[in-house]
Every structure is written in C-alpha cells, then in structure tokens.
Amino acid sequence: MKREEALKIAILKLGAILLTSIPEELTDEDALEFQNDLLEMVKRTNAKGAVIDITALQIVDSYMARVLNDTARMLKLLGAQAVLCGMNPQVALTLVEMGRELIGVQTALNLEHGVGVLYRLLDSEENL
C-alpha cells in the first residue's frame, strides 16, 4: 500500500514577513505540521510576522479554529505578528453560529489587505 505523503504547505518569505496559503482540505496532522513549520520558519528567517491566507478553506471546524488561534498566539510568543486573511463568508457564518468566538485572531478580507494590516501592526510596534 502506498503511504500517504504528508502535505507540505509552502511558506514564502517576502522581506520581513512570511506569506502562506492553506489548501482546501487538510487533515488534523497536516494542520499541526503546518503550525510547526511556520513557527520554525519565523525563527529561522527572523520574520516579523506572517499572513496566513485561508481563502481555499471551505470548512473551519472547532479543531481547525483552535489550530489557527494557537498558531497566532504562538507567533506572538516568539515576538511575531499573525494576520489571517481571506475567510470564506460561509465559514465566518458557521464559526459564529457554532457558539463562541473561535477565532480570536487579527483578520483581513483578502491577501492584499492582510499584508497591509500586518505592515501597519509592525509599524505601530516600532513607534512604541
């Protein structure tokens, strides 16, 4: 039997920030691996922040919501910022109906805004 290959999610460096896009379907394990890869990449590249694009995600259940939340908090602990962008409207609707605010992360409408929001966050940090 063919072993299932672990999904590798590309993380791109753009100046001081990282860009990454989560694919349509990923298993719980893929999600945790992505979390780990992103943290490592931030550390390795001295990135100041990351924009995580979730345009392709059609479903964010409580597990995925937690992974996204945790990832943003972990980046903060490292001293980096995270912005989540491109949430599908149906996903937003579902997350709210599911009960609590599962996503406690900085968000933006799309990738372009996400990069803008991240740069502004970083600017305001520098001006402190």
Binding site: E4, E25, T27, D28, E29, Q58, I59, V60, D61, S62, Y63, A65, R66, N88, Q90, V91, L93, T94, E97, M98, G99, R100, L102
Partner: protein, 134 residues
C-alpha cells in the same frame, strides 16, 4: 426517489475529510444552499472527529430523510467506544475529557436543526438532521 444513503467508515483523519465531502455533496444534490452545505459539512467534521478520537473510529451514514413537507438530510455517527458518561456535560461548551476545546458537540448541535445522542459503553450514536421546506 430519495437519494441513496452514503456510508463512510471512520478509521483515519482522511475519512473525516471524505465524510464531510460526501455530506456536502448530498446536501448540494438535495438543493440546500451553500450556507447549509457548510453547516452540515462542519457538523459532520466535528462528529466524525469525536468518533475517531473518543470512539476509536466508527461509521458515518448520511441519509436523505425527506417527508411530504420537507427535504431533510440526516447524519448518523456511530462508534463502539467507551461511550459518553455524562451527555449533558458533553454538550456543555468547554467541557472535554480529552485535550480538545470541548466545542465539538455543542458546535454541531448549534449548526443542525435536530440533534440527539444515545450512548452506552460500546455503543454511541449521534443523530443530526437539517431540513428545508419543499
């Protein structure tokens, strides 16, 4: 003619994805809107993950259960795990016997129109349905 039932064995994380895709597809074929397709697929994701995590795997069956007035779709997830000792507690947001957020069951209930659980050691069944007027 109602659509044929779809049954997905839940043995690995991949099967969670298959189950929610099948559920979405059936909802789409039954004419449910995108929002309902997403609600259903998300609920199926929560329930099948529970079966995998706590019930050591199980079976997810997706059925059309329409009647004279409503188009209905039901999801039944069964597992042979240890069972849910306190269903009322398990339905409380933030309660978990594992490491999870404790949001899965209440989330699934909130997304669906009907929701019921029966559980005893070796036999747990969660049934969740959603409907729309014909």
């Amino acid at each position: 003619m109602p659509l044929k039932d779809v049954t997905v064995e839940i043995r690995s994380q991949r099967d969670i994805i298959t189950a929610r895709q099948e559920a979405r597809e059936m909802a789409r074929r039954l004419g449910f809107k995108l929002a309902d397709q997403t609600r259903l697929a998300t609920a199926v994701s929560e329930l099948t993950r529970n079966a995998l995590q706590y019930g050591r795997g199980g079976v997810c069956s997706i059925e059309e259960a329409s009647n004279a007035t409503d188009i209905r779709i039901c999801v039944v997830v069964r597992d042979q795990g240890p069972g849910i000792a306190d269903i009322q507690k398990a339905m409380t947001y933030g309660y978990s016997t594992g490491k999870s957020l404790g949001a899965g069951l209440p989330a699934a209930r909130n997304l669906m129109h009907e929701f019921s659980i029966t559980s005893e050691p070796g036999n747990t069944e969660v049934r969740a349905c959603m409907g729309r007027r014909r």
